[in-house]
Symmetry: C2
Subunit: 457 residues, 2 copies
């Protein structure tokens, strides 16, 4: 008889784990449960779907349940909520949300990929009909439908992080007046101050209002149940549509109720095999903590890249393989109107908190040979440990060539390269794509000089 | 009295060495000699100057002699040819080509950056008035002037390497009928067969004739001294302008006459400090051999990136510093019409010659999320050592995102990462710039699978 692998959660890590498990062994039978309507879709594409840069909804879905069965040999059951895990009996209790019936399924190995949910403000009116999160495919569909039907003129976005930026771009592309309310005076909290300032200027340049508010007091709803204004400690903001994007928290209740241990950051704690503290139960994706390889600290990094990788590892191991996920270097990029912004590693603030002896260095140079058509300014900030001379993190920002350059620095950070080693890297030079001294090298040479000066003092 | 540092050669490594020496110590006096008209210019930009993508000649010159003196404190003498080195007396004999007078200059440290020269075919007619090399700024000016004055309709390029490709693009941009004559049936010999095939198709798509000729027999000149046709073993080709681009050879005569040792590839042999076998004499740039860090073999890599780096190291050491150039991973990129082509590390053929147990893996994926506007196909070929599972080299080819992705692989190859380690890299995912699984990771996962299959067999 085939060994049974059950997977809980169908967005990113779940399908990745299920597919990899089915591919790893002929001897397993894999079933995936998802409480929502869809499995295996791209969340990061939602703002582009909303802005009409992507028009075909089908493209957003990587695998339908039918495709997952046919192409990967995985049975996927949508509208099925897993409500209880009985680790000793190796059984789960599943509710079919269409029939409301419950069934038990037994497993040899269980993989939890329960993901995160959007944080709530906890204020009155937050359930208004025109208040949206950007978390599921249904959220994206609902926002797009609302815009097409109601033609909102004013959007308020609460939260100046990644999703806030992307939604601001989407709203402006649709010519909707857009205000971001953020608790800090600069957007994008994990980035360096200089980067954040440039982002703020880019937002303003494209007509986005950015307001610092310490507290959201309440949402004022009208008789139809739609929010008309946002009351804050520093003024009231009119809104026809509201996006709440203040972050995510891991869905750990199911895991906790079965006795699974959480880490210090509140995510499920797993080892390098993605195994939890309970036998035969793996966890993967946003619901787990991951080790940050720069400071060796546990962190919550709800990114699809990590979810896919940890999913693969959990799936391979559940099917009898021997894969390891050793940890991650944060590597993220975002387009904010005409700016490419990327971050790798840790911030200067995180580095200080982690006890590094921090130096930072910023340079501005060109994405290509300066006088070639299309060349753009590129800014790089390095965060360096003065003792080891290791690069700990970097910000890259400019109109071209930031995101892919970040990947080179990500590899460097992951493998603990020093600034001196980075200055020796062999980077391509070709007038249409890159200058003789790539900005990565310019920044490294500049940082070397700075470190020497600091030593002399 | 200040220590005297003399630098021979003014294009790439020379100015880099001279500037770095002057910056390293207050206690040195740096003089640079260049026999030509110009110092410190970009050779790689010449095709773009010829095609009018770049129109301002001044932009091509990084430093004039006046700027080098003012900004870097280096005295640069153009039209000065160094004709003899007397290592025991620490003197050089220099001819002023304007006056034809010779003078002696004494040195404490000497840096040779004599570069390369274009290889010659050695056939009759090669000195025709309309036969050009693409090597110096004057070559670029002469080609552009010739095109503007004579309006050639047919160009023949001899040599299907980097310069051949770039000149073909330049000629086609000027609507000149273009034929490349190459000794092999595919262009760009150091690349993998699949890449070369794609390049050939791109050339054809843009109206370039590509012909395989084993031997150039002669150039047929008319009464005015211009070549009208190229006679080969496989036909005669009409030409109004001819480019000979069959490679470069290091200028080592001056070094050899002073007793400097050459390496097995025919370049000046230097240690990690760029010191030659003769006391107080350094060498840098294209005239030197460099260590290829993939197979630890000496090689000739006449690239501006390496020249600049070795120049800096020689300059710093000559001024009393302690810098090392440990070697290089070949990392080159080129635009060929709409294609971005990059190569890092060694080729499968070089890997076989060097005794690696070679496997190759090719994938085709997307530069961004496949359905995002602007996404393009990207092909990657990995060259892997089956024993160590190290990545030895890679080709990247596509309409977008090849060159900067090559940099990440360059860092990986330089630091001896295995395919498994590459598959674990943290690469950015953001719909407008990169897909969830970057092609670098797709290729690594595919290669891992292939290596496992090979092991099982």
């Amino acid at each position: 008889m085939k060994r049974k692998i059950l997977v809980v959660g169908g967005v990113a890590a779940g399908p990745s784990a299920a597919s990899k498990a089915a591919r790893t062994s002929q001897d397993v039978e894999v079933t995936l449960f998802e409480q929502g309507d869809h499995i295996s879709y791209g969340i990061c594409e939602l703002p582009y779907y909303i802005s009409n840069a992507v028009t075909n909804l089908d493209k957003m879905i990587i695998y339908t349940p039918e495709q997952l069965q046919k192409e990967k040999g995985v049975v996927a059951k949508v509208h099925h909520r897993v409500e209880r895990i009985s680790p000793v009996q190796r059984k789960i209790l599943v509710r079919n949300l269409e029939t409301d019936g419950v069934s038990e399924y037994s497993y040899d190995k269980l993989i939890l990929a329960t993901g995160t949910r959007s944080k709530r403000l906890g204020v009155q009116g937050e359930d208004g009909k025109n208040v949206f999160r950007v978390k599921t495919l249904n959220d994206g569909i609902a926002i797009k439908d609302f815009i097409q039907q109601k033609h909102p003129r004013k959007a308020v976005i609460i939260g100046g992080g990644f999703i806030g930026m992307e939604m601001a771009e989407a709203f402006r592309a649709l010519n909707i007046e857009t205000t971001i309310l953020h608790r800090s005076h600069l957007p994008m909290g994990k980035l360096e101050a200089e980067t954040r300032q440039m982002i703020l200027e880019e937002l303003k340049k494209h007509g986005v209002n950015f307001a610092t508010v310490k507290e959201i007091v309440s949402f004022g709803k009208d008789a139809s149940g739609e929010v008309r204004n946002i009351v804050t400690d520093s003024g009231t903001y009119a809104a026809d549509i509201v996006i709440v994007a203040i972050g995510f928290q891991p869905n750990t209740e199911l895991a906790e109720s079965a006795g699974m241990r959480l880490g210090t950051m509140g995510g499920i704690k797993v080892d390098q095999k993605q195994l939890t503290n309970i036998d035969n139960i793996y966890a993967a994706g946003d619901c787990c903590e991951v080790k940050n390889l720069v400071d060796d600290k546990p962190s919550l990094l709800p990114f699809a890249t990590i979810a896919s990788k940890t999913g693969r590892v959990a799936g391979e191991n559940a099917a009898g393989g021997n894969a390891l996920f050793k940890g991650t270097v944060r590597a993220v990029a975002i387009r904010i109107f005409d700016l490419e912004v990327a971050q790798v590693g840790i911030s200067s603030e995180e580095a200080q908190t982690s006890g590094f002896d921090v130096a930072t260095e910023m340079i501005t140079d060109w994405s290509r040979i300066s006088f070639m058509p299309g060349s753009k300014k590129l800014h790089i900030i390095y965060i360096i440990d003065k003792r080891s001379k290791r690069l700990l993190g970097a910000n890259l920002i400019g109109e071209e060539g930031a995101a892919l350059r970040a990947n080179t620095l990500s590899a460097a950070i992951r493998h603990h390269l020093t600034i001196d080693e980075i200055s020796q890297l062999d980077l391509v030079y070709t007038p249409p794509y890159a200058p003789l001294w790539d900005p990565i090298l310019i920044a490294a040479n500049q940082a070397k000089k700075r470190l020497r000066e600091l030593e002399i003092k």
